[in-house]
């Protein structure tokens, strides 16, 4: 499936939502919500990996501009986008992917969706927080931040999926 106008619009919707609203939402000084990763995770299965990484880099870079942390989100996003296709291949639901499949909750159910998203979100957050902390100096506190943020982001992503179910294409 080719990327269409819908993807371009939702790129900006996710981006603005992240930097204008979710940037201010932090629970208990440790749980952050990076909903913009949902956009990256919902790109069609058969998208070219080069394009995937390009989009990941662009998204991360713009988020970085607002978060005053140049390169940080871009690094984590490119990493996630590289890992994404390998991970999608190893968690293929029964019957494999159709043409034009979108890896959303509608495709394989809640359980499959969690198996697909959580490790990638964890990878993204771990990259983000450990690089920001400048190494493993504050290992346990940073790990706590990573875990709480992963749970928070996953919850918000699930809610978003229930509220706005993506069409099965």
């Amino acid at each position: 499936m080719r990327l269409n106008i819908f993807h371009i619009i939702s790129f900006f919707v996710f981006l603005l939502y992240q930097v204008l609203i979710l940037q201010n939402v932090v629970l208990f000084h440790s749980a952050f919500c990076f909903l913009y990763i949902l956009y990256l995770l919902l790109l069609p299965v058969e998208t070219n990996p080069l394009l995937l990484m390009g989009i990941g880099f662009a998204m991360g870079f713009v988020v970085d501009l607002f978060y005053e942390s140049l390169g940080l989100h871009a690094f984590a996003c490119v990493m996630v986008m590289y890992a994404r296709n390998y991970w999608l291949n190893s968690v293929t639901p029964q019957g494999g992917y159709d043409n034009n499949a979108v890896p959303s909750m509608a495709l394989g159910g809640v359980q499959w969706f969690l198996v697909y998203t959580m490790p990638l979100i964890f990878l993204h957050h771990a990259m983000l927080f450990y690089i920001e902390a400048g190494g493993f100096g504050m290992f346990w506190f940073t790990l706590w931040k990573v875990i709480t943020s992963t749970i928070f982001t996953t919850l918000v992503i699930l809610i978003a999926q229930f509220l706005f179910p993506s069409r099965r294409r």
């Binding site: 000084h29 880099f57 607002f66 902390a133």
Partner: protein, 279 residues
Amino acid sequence: MERLIYFFYQYRAFFTFLVLEVLCAWLIISNNSYQGAQFFNSSNSAIASMNNFSQGIRNYFLLSDQNTILAEENASLRRELEKNIQLKQLTDTLSGVDTTIVDRFDFVSAKVVNNQVDRYKNFITISKGANAGITPGMAVISPLGAIGKVKVVSDHYSVVTSILHIDVMVSAELKRTGHFGTAQWKGRNPQEINLLYIPPHVKPEIGDTVITSGYNAVFPPGIMIGTISQKELDKEALFYELKVKLSQDFQKLSYVTVVKSRLKHEQDSLEQAVIKMEK
């Protein structure tokens, strides 16, 4: 040659990945130093005006707190003013007061358009920039305490490195005893900063006031930082472990004051000259 190209083509995804990650790593490293100027940042006008819009909405929720703080500040300023007028009448008879020393600090008030507290390296964007005479290195304070140091400026906005930044150290002083230490944030609680290098022979008490010291390259002396909330001294430890509760709640920041020091340049160049002489 053909096989080499074929090899690159075959692993093109991996190589693109590598190139992008190296590019990101380069961006991270080259922007790592907290005082270094950088090209892309949120003092960029498009980004800052969007932040301005979102802070404008948030500000409504802070209005009543702001009012109280401003009223209190007004009252204390009026007291100071009155005191100064009295003093002035006394000292007017004495000659030889150097007016450049008396008004060496100038203050510019600015609105906070973007504020972070929960990261390891926090920055604040404010709505005054080079057009208001702000330059990198100036101190930023609020009515309640020290805030940070200007990092980069654009025409209408500047980005401030908050003292809630794990690499920033502020020279501090125990007001009661006059001993010097260093205040540094540990990246956990945005209400709390650590005071380092206070030796055991000093007897700090819980509740002691911590202010910025005169040895400070950034802040004017005597700006409030906070009060000691927790003290610990291990046996055989060289220094106390002191936690200081910040007097300014960084989460409620909405107006700050930038301090322009007219004599800072003179002090710096004098000190540089001495350092050169020593070498």
